[in-house]
């Protein structure tokens, strides 16, 4: 499998004419859009420079990716991580810099030791200065390799339920860590199974028989000399998963493992030598750091994955021809079918919508960060609620979107060589990690219900929920289908639904409480509705931030025009998929729904023309896509055939030099054939 070497200029490529023609007359400046997506031309330049370095290094090749066993994937990821560390050192790239982010993009995230960074970040966030001075240099130089052990076999979301214990022993000045039962084993942490020498363990702290809740402890789990497990430590890999098989997600069982008193990360609480428990400072800043991880995950991992899937599926859909649209004509490109457009183009619109949503959220967080640094924590509840809900809907829609792309590629989408199954399986994990989506939506809902109450009683509310204070409009007044494409019209429709759904959930909640239900029981009864309200709130914000971003593109008329179409497509797709929400109280009428459907279908045809330039603008290299269907040159079938022939199932040869025979894919034993022949009767 040899993806074409890294080439930027399309002129030097032999491009499939079916794909080439799609690029002839874009309605906008593709290169300019790329720089906008990158956040400036300088970023684009740096990114491409990093990609060029990575792709020209054979150690980073991903050619074998689809053919590796779990062991081989893990080893390849370790090898790449070690090499990357060396390279970053040579190039003087910093871990916190944009180069590191671009390396990760170029490598498709397939490197080991990703938790090592989380290990360091958690030490920086949770430790005292002395602790930082002790551990960070060791970690930076890979003297120790870290992981972060929070989740247990029996407990994930609910941190208070953790069962691992750390009991302080005054006489030895040590904490004794234990896994009291099987469900208390640490389970899932990345890099924990085979790589890590140390980990931050979250455990219930006990002093003199009293429980003080969950605290973080640095625990050495493997010898720095021969890497064997430390005394009292049972550690291993949790076995094959849907994806991430290059990562050794691990389990950890602790039996009377002793760590010195200094190993409890003590920025916020400390246990003194005599066993006195001291609390200090505010943990809120720490809280903020956790939310930041979520936000970064969306912009560095989730949305780019969706963009890759769009790139592959849309390029393939202009190369693949199927059936006739006009009798006697050549078979039509499948992207010319309305049903194919309706599968892929809304997903493309979602990818752009989420990109602009992320930008908006990043701004919001930069602002929040400045305030928090000045010890002003007022915006924290809003940031938390906002990022929780958005994490849930962005991961949910992105995951579904990638799968739509895969299925839209028909049978070939099922081949790993298409690249799409792996994009899906990686992304699918994001719906449950960093907060399970339903739990997160309910957190957002709790904030919304509180703010609705405040808004109604005339109290000030944070900006993202200020719309709850306004009077809700009663009807959409549009008479012409073109007016439905006005951003203020559809933004208003989403706002209306968000208010209505939240109000009815809140009313129900109140009614239950008034009829005598306890608060928690009433809440429980309304959770399905509350999830609906949180989603409507987030959906409104995505539409709104997209529309605002389009507004700001005034200097680039061509780009602004196509982005406006995409924004309309995103908004109308949401209405088309949930007409009931908009029809429910007569906000829009049946006739308006028909008009809206007509506008929606019109937009598909418009966006269709620019579909390929719109995915080209994402500017993924062939090596990053690693797809036989999605390469820039569009030579789908040639590549599929070449790559398949390189599959180990075909290349393992016998001593005689002939193809391995019968029935067995590779190291087959002749006995199998005999078994088959023995059936002859």
């Amino acid at each position: 499998m040899a993806p074409t070497r890294y080439l930027r200029s399309s002129a030097s490529r032999d491009v499939n004419p079916d794909l080439d023609i799609e690029r002839k007359t874009p309605s906008f400046d593709v290169e300019k859009l790329t720089t906008i997506l990158d956040g400036g031309a300088e970023n684009t330049r740096v990114r491409r420079a990093v990609e060029a370095v990575i792709h020209s290094d054979p150690v980073f090749s991903r050619e074998d990716k689809y053919f590796l066993s779990q062991n081989e994937s893990y080893e390849a990821a370790v090898k790449k991580a070690v090499h990357l560390k060396k390279m970053m050192h040579q190039m003087k790239w910093s871990w916190a810099g944009s180069e590191c982010k671009y390396c990760n993009r170029a490598l498709g995230g397939e490197v080991a030791f990703t938790l090592h960074n989380i290990f360091m970040e958690s030490i920086l966030a949770l430790s005292t200065d002395e602790q930082t001075a002790k551990w960070i240099p060791l970690a930076e130089n890979y003297r120790i390799l870290g992981s972060y052990a929070q989740t247990e076999l029996g407990h994930g979301t609910y941190i208070r339920g953790f069962e691992t214990t750390a009991t302080f022993n005054i006489s030895t000045q040590e904490f004794v860590l234990n896994t009291p039962k099987i469900s208390a084993m640490k389970w899932w942490p990345g890099d924990l199974g085979r790589s890590a020498t140390h980990t931050v363990v979250f455990a219930q702290l006990y002093i003199k028989g009293k429980c003080y809740g969950v605290h973080p402890f640095i625990v050495q789990i493997r010898s720095l000399h021969d890497h064997s497990p430390a005394p009292g430590v049972t550690v291993g890999d949790i076995g094959p998963k849907m994806d991430f098989n290059h990562i050794d997600n691990g389990y950890l069982l602790l039996q009377d493992v002793r760590v010195p008193r200094e190993n409890m990360l003590s920025r916020f609480c400390e246990v003194l030598a005599d066993g006195t428990y001291v609390k200090r400072g505010s943990e809120k800043i720490n809280y903020f750091n956790m939310i930041i991880i979520r936000v970064k995950m969306l912009s560095n991992e989730v949305v780019p994955t969706l963009m890759k899937a769009c790139t592959i599926a849309i390029r393939y859909s202009v190369v693949r021809r199927q059936s006739e649209l006009m009798p006697g004509d050549q078979e039509a490109k499948i992207l010319d079918y309305q049903t194919q457009q309706q599968k892929l183009l809304p997903v493309l619109a979602i990818a752009y919508a989420f990109h602009f949503m992320n930008e908006y959220m990043n701004e919001l967080f930069s602002k929040g960060y400045r305030e928090i640094k000045q010890k002003n924590f007022d915006s924290l509840p809003e940031l938390h609620a906002f990022s929780s809900g958005l994490k849930a809907i962005v991961t949910e829609h992105s995951t579904a979107g990638v799968e739509t792309c895969r299925k839209a590629c028909g049978g070939h989408g099922y081949s790993l060589l298409s690249g799409l199954p792996s994009l899906y399986t990686r992304l699918a994990a994001s719906c449950t990690y960093e907060g399970e989506n339903t739990v997160l939506l309910l957190q957002t809902a709790r904030f919304l219900v509180k703010c609705l109450g405040a808004a109604r009683s005339g109290q000030p509310v944070p900006p993202s929920v200020a719309y709850l204070s306004a009077v809700n409009s009663e009807r959409c007044l549009v008479r012409d289908k073109r007016d439905l494409l006005q951003p203020d019209v559809y933004v208003e429709a989403y706002r209306h639904v968000a208010i209505r759904v939240l109000s009815s959930a809140a009313a129900k909640l109140q009614a239950l409480v008034q009829s005598g239900a306890e608060q928690h029981e009433a809440w429980h009864q309304c959770t399905v509705q509350l999830v609906h309200a949180a989603k409507a709130h987030c959906h409104y914000h995505v539409v709104k931030s997209f529309a605002e971003a389009v507004e700001k593109l005034g200097q680039e008329a061509g780009i602004q025009r196509i982005m406006k179409h995409l924004c309309g497509l995103f908004a109308l797709h949401g209405i088309f998929s949930n007409t009931g929400d908009f029809l429910h109280d007569g906000y829009i009428s049946g006739d308006q729904v028909d008009m809206m459907t007509a506008s929606y279908l019109d937009l598909l045809a418009i966006v269709r023309k620019d579909a390929v330039p719109l995915v080209d603008a994402f500017d993924f290299t062939d090596e990053t896509l690693n797809s036989a269907l999605g390469s820039y040159d569009g030579h789908v079938y040639r590549r599929l055939y070449q790559w398949a022939r390189k599959s180990p199932s075909n290349t393992k040869v016998r001593a005689g030099g002939k193809q391995t025979s019968p029935v067995c894919i590779h190291q087959g034993k002749p006995t199998l054939l005999s078994v088959l022949w023995a059936c002859t009767m």
Binding site: Q338, K343, L417, T432, V528, Y637, R645, I665
Partner: protein, 661 residues
């Protein structure tokens, strides 16, 4: 047994065993099925290592060994009834995909249906005895759905009385057929027939591809495995390229069309007949949708009864996650869907057998409806089951992502049914074509029969959207029969809207195909609404056949949940058509939640009724005894990465790096 699961089972309001009998079609059939399953489960020869820890090559070996063993044992036990073979096969292969599946289904099936008496006498004994192993090679790299577009050629040479087979382009390489890469020595190849200089369209040919005995590819044949896939690791989906490969004239399947020795082409009487095989396979996919979704529901619901998380009431112990309304809302509608699809699958099978009975006696009148029905229902059920399996997986949180849950495997094995044997959107459009035709028939004053007879209500001048919308709202949301009516009105409204939009486009466009394409989103919606109606109708019809009152009561609630949840997800259609009012929609939402609470105490018993043996479920999370955590630990210990306490990567990569820094 885990105490949570024991409590759940004791508290159920009905006997799950009785519901199993309903699913199996009678108590005798349940016990016969279990007898047959026991033959496999108690046989040490069928034991093998957990597939999750094996390489693709090893998985293939296991699958081949089991397939061959299965054939021998079936003969040993003298099992010949198709259902019994199916039971035996399901439990024998478990979670594995059989590389010989295509041999037993498509290869022999096609020879039986399309071969002459002579051909059947020659090939079937060889195939049954596995002296030859065959597959069915239709799909090409560049062409799937559009059969006329296939490029492989078979050119008749009267001089030698042979066909010359060629793969003229890269795109014409046969691609995907199961068992083609490494297993088969023969293939039924579909190719464009050329004789006397003319193309006569697609025909089927029996082509030897590997040497009997050595199993080497024959000269002129390039054959291999297409590489790793999302799932189907045990299957050698293959490619096949032919260069001037000659086969005797007799290798063309000639029951219908014929080529005489001199090259004269004799046309078939009816080309509808070749659809039979496709229809059969599609009806099986509907049943698969039900079974795959049932397996996923079994795992997710049992796990949700064992898993405890957070607080519902401050200070109380962590509740079972199945007690959360949001979790019930994810899983119970899927459980109801699984039951609905079971009954649809059973209906399809009966209908298929009934209609093909007619076909063999020459009556083809029901074939168009059968074709339309299987196409749409295949798409409808496989799409929904596909999404449902993933919802079940995600409802299991992080552990659902581990292969020990069995859920990733169920998903990747099931998901290709959305694209194979007819891509779903194409299938929906086939159904739509039938619906539009029926609509036109009704508009011109003729009546239609069968599942589409509701379109007759739109006869005469009543074909006005306003008229339909103006229907009095008389839906009773507690009555399944009334909900069937609601779905019926929705379907007729959407079929009508699509037909009218199509007519509008036809008036504006030159090409019929263009007009059709510009209406296809509407047409797919119409088909979906039709299929949805059929499913609600068949589920409802099943209720009256259930004799046990407790079972009937819980199934009635499941049926209501299925129907009401469907409405709640498509309120727009029901509101826009004036079938339901705003107030009723609000009631529907509330009633769905009420039903969740009714089903909750019966949920575990309802999945127990599917009666999947643990080995068939292939899931640590879904174990019947619910002892998940200790078994997850046991399972994980077997991970390939755990073979040595220190992984070799430490010595190869980590240590050298640390030494340098």
């Amino acid at each position: 047994m885990n105490p949570d699961l024991r409590r759940e089972r004791e508290a159920a309001a009905f006997q799950s065993e009785l519901l199993t009998h309903v699913l199996d079609g009678g108590a005798e059939r349940t016990s016969r099925r279990r007898e047959i399953e026991a033959l496999v489960l108690n046989d040490p020869e069928f034991q093998h290592e957990d597939l999750n820890f094996l390489s693709r090559s090893q998985r293939y070996e296991v699958a081949i060994r089991k397939s061959a063993l299965m054939v021998m044992k079936l003969r040993e036990y003298g099992i010949a009834d198709p259902d019994e073979i199916y039971w035996f096969k399901s439990i024998c292969l478990g979670t594995c995909v059989g590389p010989l599946n295509l041999h037993f289904s498509m290869f022999t099936h096609t020879i039986e249906n399309q071969g002459t008496v002579d051909q059947r006498e020659k090939w079937l004994p060889l195939a049954c005895g596995l002296q030859i192993i065959g597959t069915y090679a239709q799909t090409e790299m560049g062409h799937g759905t559009h059969l006329r577009g296939l490029e492989t050629t078979a050119t008749y040479d009267p001089a030698t009385q042979e066909f010359i087979l060629n793969s003229p382009t890269v795109t014409s390489i046969k691609w995907w057929p199961g068992g083609l890469g490494k297993t088969s020595n023969h293939a039924i190849v579909l190719a464009q027939l050329y004789t006397q200089g003319q193309c006569k369209g697609l025909h089927a040919f029996i082509v030897p591809i590997r040497q009997l005995g050595t199993h080497e590819p024959l000269p002129g044949i390039t054959v291999g495995d297409i590489g790793p896939k999302f799932g189907y690791d045990e299957m050698d989906n293959g490619y096949l390229k032919m260069d001037n490969f000659r086969i005797p004239r007799e290798n063309m399947l000639m029951k219908y069309a014929k080529v005489e020795p001199d090259g004269t082409y004799v046309k078939p009487l009816s080309d509808k007949l070749t659809y039979g095989t496709m229809v059969f396979i599609r009806s099986i996919i509907v049943g698969d949708s039900a079974r795959s979704l049932s397996r996923a529901c079994t795992i997710a619901i049992r796990y949700s009864a064992v898993r405890h998380q957070s607080e519902l009431k401050p200070g109380e112990p962590e509740p079972q996650i199945l007690d959360y309304q949001t979790q019930q809302y994810k899983l119970f509608p899927l459980l109801a869907t699984a039951y609905a699809f079971h009954f649809v699958g059973a209906y399809m099978k009966e209908t298929y057998l009934r209609i093909t009975g007619d076909i063999s006696e020459g009556d083809l009148s029901q074939l168009p409806e059968l074709h339309a029905l299987t196409a749409g229902l295949k798409a409808f059920t496989s799409w929904i089951a596909n999404a449902g399996i993933e919802e079940c997986r995600m409802a299991c949180g992080g552990h659902g992502y581990s292969r020990c849950s069995g859920l990733p495997d169920i998903y990747v094995t099931f998901t290709p049914s959305c694209t194979y044997e007819g891509e779903n959107t194409v299938m929906m459009l086939q159904t739509a074509r039938f619906l539009v035709k029926c609509y036109a028939q009704v508009s011109s004053g003729q009546l239609v029969s069968g599942m589409v007879s509701y379109l007759n209500d739109l006869s005469g001048q009543r074909i006005q959207p306003q008229q339909v919308a103006a229907r009095p709202t008389t839906v009773h949301i507690n009555d399944p029969a009334s909900l069937v009516e609601a779905y019926k009105v929705r379907a007729s409204r959407l079929v009508e809207a699509a037909a009218k939009n199509l007519q509008g486009e036809l008036n504006r466009r030159e090409s019929k195909e263009d007009a059709w394409n510009r209406t296809s989103v509407d047409l797919v919606r119409a088909s979906e609404a039709h299929c949805h109606y059929v499913v609600v109708k068949l589920f409802t019809a099943k209720l009256s056949e259930i004799s046990d009152a407790a079972v009937r009561a819980i199934m009635t609630n499941l049926c209501l949940l299925y129907a009401l949840h469907g409405i709640s997800k498509h309120t727009g259609d029901f509101l826009q058509a004036g079938i339901l009012t705003d107030a009723q929609v609000t009631q529907v939402y509330q009633h769905v939640k009420d039903l969740l609470a009714v089903i909750r105490p019966n949920a575990v018993a309802l999945v127990d009724s599917f009666d999947f043996h643990d080995s068939h479920l292939g899931s640590v999370l879904g174990r019947y005894d619910g002892n998940i955590y200790e078994n997850m630990f046991e399972w994980a210990k077997k991970s390939p990465l755990n073979k040595t306490e220190v992984h070799e990567s430490f010595h190869k990569h980590l240590k050298p790096m640390q030494a340098k820094l």
